[in-house]
């Protein structure tokens, strides 16, 4: 019994980080209907930044959020301006954007592979080996801190979307792009901004990934599979859905890993994806999957 609760806690502590990773992807899909296949590649890119900052300048990966986020924010806006306005409102929008982000993912992966080689990396600040004891349960410090920071960032995102003018404009664009435009929202500006924010969230996730997991350039394919499963489960474009989906699947994966061995735990996400598409294509909270 104690062991089962322990596994639950471990799952929940990863769930926060998964939620942060998925939130950027969801935001980008929600506002622009772009499935950003390159999202995990950018997360890994930020993870490398955080890793080297730790290795060379001894900057704590948790603190590196302070520069990975703004850096990825501006990088994201630049990429959006450079790549996406060209396709506009074409009929083949879905297939075009997917192919574009797919090629971005390949470029980022290739550049990372060229610069950093395929060596497995992981930052090791002192708290990665520590654990807190809570009664009979132990909580690994790294996971705990990472999830707390994720939840704080998600909270800030929520407040921003809820209470600021720009945040309201973003939510309006997510609900109905055309209607938002009619009531005077500068949809193009909002899209650029949302892409930047989504990428900033990828930057923050990268800082956390740098000490939570071992990574190498090609790892992002596995991550994007996981993230896509999360956002499909949550209902694409629904932020709260992706958060719930993240916690749910993280816990299921933890149990699966506990009972059948860790090599099988990633299968949770892929199987979940097919199951959801089979049973409830609109996800837990979402509207129908159309783009």
């Amino acid at each position: 019994m104690i062991q089962l609760v322990q596994v639950l806690l471990l799952g929940l502590m990863l769930g926060g980080v998964y939620a942060l990773m998925a939130s950027g992807l969801t935001l980008i899909f929600g506002v622009m209907r772009i499935v950003n296949i390159a999202h995990a590649a950018f997360i890994l890119f930020a993870a490398y930044l955080a890793f080297w900052a730790f290795k060379i300048y001894h900057i704590d990966p948790m603190v590196s959020v302070l520069f990975t986020m703004p850096l990825m924010f501006f990088l994201g806006m630049g990429i959006y301006k450079l790549v996406f306005p060209r396709i506009g409102e074409s009929r083949q929008f879905t297939s075009m954007t997917v192919l574009l982000t797919f090629s971005l993912a390949l470029i980022v992966e290739g550049v990372m592979g060229f610069l950093y080689s395929g060596i497995y990396r992981s930052a090791n600040p002192p708290y990665t080996t520590r654990a807190l004891l809570l009664g009979p349960f132990y909580l690994p410090a790294a996971q705990l801190y990472a999830t707390l920071l994720s939840l704080i960032l998600l909270g800030v995102l929520f407040l921003f979307l809820r209470f600021t003018r720009t945040g309201r404009a973003i939510r309006a664009t997510m609900q109905n792009r055309t209607a938002a435009q009619i009531v005077g929202v500068d949809v193009e500006r909002i899209s650029t901004l949302a892409f930047g924010i989504g990428m900033a969230l990828a930057g923050a996730s990268g800082s956390l990934v740098s000490f939570l997991f071992t990574f190498f350039p090609a790892k992002h394919w596995q991550w994007i599979g996981t993230l896509l499963a999360l956002i499909v489960l949550g209902g694409m474009g629904s932020l709260s859905g992706s958060v719930v989906g993240a916690f749910l699947l993280a816990v299921v994966a933890a149990y699966l890993g506990h009972f059948y061995g860790p090599t099988w735990s990633p299968i949770t996400f892929y199987l979940a994806l097919f199951l959801i598409l089979l049973i409830r294509p609109q996800g837990l909270f979402g509207k129908k999957l159309e783009a």
């Binding site: 899909f29 499935v35 296949i37 790549v83 060209r86 009929r91 083949q92 879905t94 297939s95 075009m96 997917v98 192919l99 574009l100 797919f102 090629s103 971005l104 993912a105 390949l106 470029i107 980022v108 992966e109 290739g110 550049v111 592979g113 060229f114 080689s117 350039p217 090609a218 394919w221 596995q222 994007i224 599979g225 896509l228 499963a229 499909v232 694409m236 090599t263 099988w264 990633p266 299968i267 996400f269 892929y270 199987l271 994806l273 097919f274 598409l277 089979l278 294509p281 129908k288 999957l289 159309e290 783009a291």
Partner: protein
């Protein structure tokens, strides 16, 4: 009269037919080109039998046939129908594993079981299509990525077939001088089959329906096209020939290994070939595959780095998408400068 994008196409075609000169040229350059190309390819191995110096060329041609099969098949779902599959190498990989397993456990030659591997890929495509193509939009794309990852994860953990290490397959007992020949002809046949299927689909009512779906799925549905069935069938057909080619390719490489058969770069190259040649055209994928094989060979010989290869593939894809979205054949046709020997419909 209802607005239908297809009527315009019919009218255009009619107008074009009226404007064409009345007298037909005595030799159809397209037929001439294609039959002489096939004849040269069919007779090429004679050089190898006589001199034994052409193994490298046989290998390059074989590899090109493999890629033509992949690109022409991908084009059926990704080009005609407009649904992007980002994991099409899952079908060649699974085809390889099915035929490889039959060889290892039952001693059945992949030359005989290749159609079986194709049928397996077809059924897999049908199953995945049934799950993901009932809805529109992004679900399908996401599922195709997940499918590759799932297949790799499953086979990595399948100890029966060597897990991550895979298993090695025995070569057919033939002297080195001619050992490549059965593979060469098998792959040539598969490629011809894939391209011919693509051509027949393009000129059928089914193909017209697929192109209508790519243009505007709602209108296609209103016009009475059973869109879901068409999409699912198109995906399954696009899986068949890759499954067959994968069976031959695995036997040719003499091993099965998940990391190599289910790499995303493989899927990306198929997409790039079709985009480069011209998405939705019959000859485009063939041209694109041949060009990319040459380009890759040059690139690897010059730089030899797989990381740069990945970045290069991505960059080329990005540039083609942004500045050359119709590909070579599509652009030439748009400007009415497509040479007749490349105009396969």
């Amino acid at each position: 009269m209802p607005e239908n994008p297809l009527t315009e196409e019919v009218l255009d075609a009619r107008e074009e037919a009226y404007l064409r000169p009345a007298a037909k040229p005595t030799v159809d350059s397209r037929k001439f080109f294609l039959s002489s190309l096939l004849l040269v390819l069919a007779l090429f191995p004679v050089l190898q039998i006589v001199s034994g110096q052409f193994n490298y060329w046989l290998h390059m041609l074989l590899f090109t046939f493999m890629n033509i099969t992949m690109a022409a098949s991908w084009n059926i779902i990704g080009g005609y129908t407009g649904y992007i599959s980002l994991g099409h190498n899952v079908f060649s990989g699974m085809g390889g594993y099915v035929a490889g397993a039959l060889l290892v456990f039952y001693g059945l030659s992949p030359f005989l079981t290749a159609p079986l591997a194709g049928a397996f890929a077809f059924l897999l495509g049908l199953l995945v299509g049934l799950i993901t193509l009932r809805t529109r939009g992004s679900a399908f794309i996401i599922a195709t990525i997940a499918l590759v990852l799932l297949a790799k994860l499953g086979l990595d953990n399948l100890e029966l077939l060597g897990g991550t290490n895979g298993v090695s397959l025995p070569l057919p007992p033939l002297p080195a001088r001619v050992v490549k020949l059965p593979f060469y002809y098998g792959m040539l046949l598969t490629a011809v089959g894939a391209v011919y299927t693509s051509y027949r689909i393009r000129h059928s009512k089914f193909g017209l329906g697929l192109r209508a779906i790519a243009q505007d799925e709602t209108k296609a549905e209103v016009a009475g096209i059973p869109t879901s069935q068409y999409k699912i069938l198109a995906f399954a057909i696009s899986a068949f020939f890759p499954g067959m080619a994968g069976a031959l390719w695995a036997y040719y490489l003499t091993y099965l290994r998940p990391t190599i058969y289910f790499a995303v770069l493989g899927a990306a190259e198929v997409v790039l070939m079709t985009l480069l040649g011209g998405r939705g055209t019959v000859s485009g994928p063939v041209l694109g595959a041949a060009l990319l094989v040459i380009l890759n060979e040059f690139f690897v010989a010059k730089f030899g780095s797989t990381e740069l290869n990945i970045a290069g593939t991505g960059l080329l894809m990005l540039l083609v998408l942004l500045f050359f979205p119709d590909g070579i054949v599509g652009t030439l046709r748009e400007r009415r400068k497509l040479p007749r020997f490349l105009d396969w419909g």
